[in-house]
Symmetry: C2
Subunit: 395 residues, 2 copies
């Protein structure tokens, strides 16, 4: 039955590699334009075209969307959340039901985060020790423990193609000593994550390390160098987009990325706006995830090439134009702004459904445009034009 159930979400791009763990994980750098990189990641569940944006499927669903829509929008990979899934429905239950791919009906690659960020952002009561993080569930207050080993065990139970080390995320600004302590702890947790992953993971799955170090260039470099010495298949930049601001984020990327090997994919976690994505790709980032397209969609915002639209705004009330007549996304192309305005004002499901779809498609279109510009070696010019257009100020 699952074989049939997977067909609906199976895009035509998926190669015949099947779902078995027969493929080795790999990254190929195909071309560069400035520092922007065009590449391809191979996983047990298929290829990922990079730069890639991963829609967030926190609790095994990309909110308010059918996965057919996510796939058709152009997403090669989605993200799942260890923190949420370990609490409900639990990793063990997902494993008994055939793993996360079968459970949620997504046969493409899945990346799972380690839970480190949500322990910081969602759990009011938590205690971090050398061993791991003890925290209370935001759902029912029950007590849980997450160590580097347990995080990897969960991610293996889920069957994630790309797994993330457990790290300690701290809020910025923070005292340098505190940033350093968390960064050093995260390095030791990376070692333990790697050891656990080597014991538990299936062939073809990959573990990514996470560079920490706040906005201190020296600390970021030290973190990157120590992680690179561990020779992992991918590297993430964590602990950004947590209040440090756009410029500090970019400066930190510029300090960090040269320390990472060109032969491995680089993933900027939890980022961001369309401008963030363009600036980060310009500096050499290959992968992103963010709740922004779906969360902003649920809150009535539409991303467009001419900047965001607040669909609650009264000026849309009698505007029969679609959000974007050029879009291939039916939600952007076929529904009037007036109708979407009405749905948003009325708090209707369909408003959230359509705008989440619009935004998910826009983010994928943005990545596709970046990949095309890199392939044609005109990324810097494309980026300047597109940034100017995106900054159009409207309500």
């Amino acid at each position: 039955m699952w074989a049939r159930m997977d067909q609906a979400a199976n895009g035509s791009r998926q190669s015949g590699t099947g779902k078995g763990p027969s493929t080795r994980f790999g990254y190929r750098l195909l071309s560069q334009s400035g520092h922007a990189r065009l590449g391809e990641i191979t996983t047990p569940h298929g290829q990922i075209r990079t730069p890639a944006f991963m829609p967030v499927g926190t609790v095994a669903t990309v909110k308010a969307l059918y996965l057919d829509q996510v796939k058709a929008a152009g997403a090669d990979i989605i993200l799942g959340n260890t923190y949420h899934l370990m609490l409900r429905p639990t990793a063990e239950r997902v494993a008994r039901l055939g793993g996360l791919h079968a459970f949620m009906r997504w046969d493409g690659p899945i990346l799972t985060d380690s839970g480190g960020f949500q322990v910081m952002s969602l759990s009011k009561i938590r205690k971090i020790t050398e061993d791991g993080a003890t925290f209370q569930s935001h759902i029912d207050g029950s007590r849980h423990f997450l160590s580097p080993e347990r995080s990897i065990e969960i991610q293996c139970l889920l069957g994630a193609d790309i797994q993330m080390q457990l790290d300690e995320c701290i809020e910025l600004p923070a005292a340098p000593r505190e940033v350093e302590r968390a960064m050093e702890l995260s390095l030791r947790w990376a070692e333990r994550s790697k050891a656990a992953f080597d014991r538990m993971a299936a062939p073809g799955q990959a573990l990514f390390a996470i560079v920490q170090g706040g906005v201190d260039p020296a600390m970021r470099r030290r973190s990157a160098e120590a992680l690179v010495a561990m020779d992992l298949p991918g590297y993430a930049v964590g602990g950004l987009a947590v209040g440090e601001g756009h410029e500090a984020m970019l400066t930190t990327l510029e300090a960090t990325l040269p320390a990472l090997p060109a032969t491995r994919p680089r993933y900027l976690m939890g980022v961001g706006t369309p401008l963030d994505l363009i600036e980060s790709v310009a500096r050499g980032i290959d992968m992103f995830d963010c709740v922004m397209p779906t969360r902003n969609g649920r809150h009535g915002y539409a991303f467009t090439w001419d900047g965001p639209l607040n669909m609650r705004n009264a000026r849309h009330a009698e505007d029969i134009r679609p959000i974007d007549p050029e879009s291939a996304c039916p939600a952007a192309r076929d529904y009037s702004r007036a109708y979407i305005h009405h749905l948003v004002r009325s708090g209707e499901y369909l408003g959230a459904m359509l705008l989440s779809w619009v935004n998910t498609a826009f983010y994928q279109d943005l990545m596709a445009a970046m990949r095309k510009a890199i392939a044609e070696n005109r990324f810097p010019a494309w980026a300047e034009e597109t940034k100017a257009r995106l900054k159009t100020t409207r309500a």
Copy 2:
């Protein structure tokens, strides 16, 4: 643009009558099995196979569904709510945007109720006089007036194919004198509605009268006879499913329907459960509307041929079976009960989306099965079998 925008929701069953008001309204009784009637209604926006269930699109959206799904499920006609739409976005705005069909992208027939029921059920502060109903909006407390003439004006602005007279709905039980007063007022409002409709409606549109009279057979008959004397193209039975109970509802139908002409469609308003529908079709009802499929879907319930399922129930947590492997609806056929249980427990949009889809498809499948049983002249036997199956008790 609207021509293109309408295509997506345009089912293959729609004939080439187009959207213009060129077709005359009509009803054909095709065959009978017992008192159950197979028929076809013709409207300016296409045919309606009866018995028909009309999904409710209260504020110009069938909650949590794409209209493509509603159409594909087999719905020929949907319902819109005068009360809601007059408050937001207002009938005048919908008219400026091209009418309700274009606004919500549904090119099949639309029936609008008159607002009478919602004035009773939604507006806490209201005053009924001979002239009409003054009430406060449930949205912002603003004051509004709905007369028979204004209700028809709104329904014409919306462009409804089938329009309903304004009636006074009362809650049951009520004193006989109060039931009679409201019934008599509704008769006078029917006359005024007809006069307004004759002045304002477009060719091919139809006005239905509403039989009132509580659960008193004599009063129902008096109401029906007075309305039949007005010679309207369709007759509704209103004021039921408001607390009188299943048996009283059926008894009232048995007293009312013989007084209605066989040559006109009969519409039981706001009903009901699958059993209600079968029993009502058995007594000669042709049309229904109810929020139950979508509302119960949002609340975690799935309708099936073997009775309802409460998807919150823990027994579904590791059940990889779909809700109904025989269903043509992807939501019922392709997603595991375990996954839907998880979505419902997690309060995710997709849970409401999938279950609203399951239930909307089930209701349409139920109507199709009834139409088939009537066409094959085996409705009574089919009804007995199906009722027994539907009564299977489970959680």
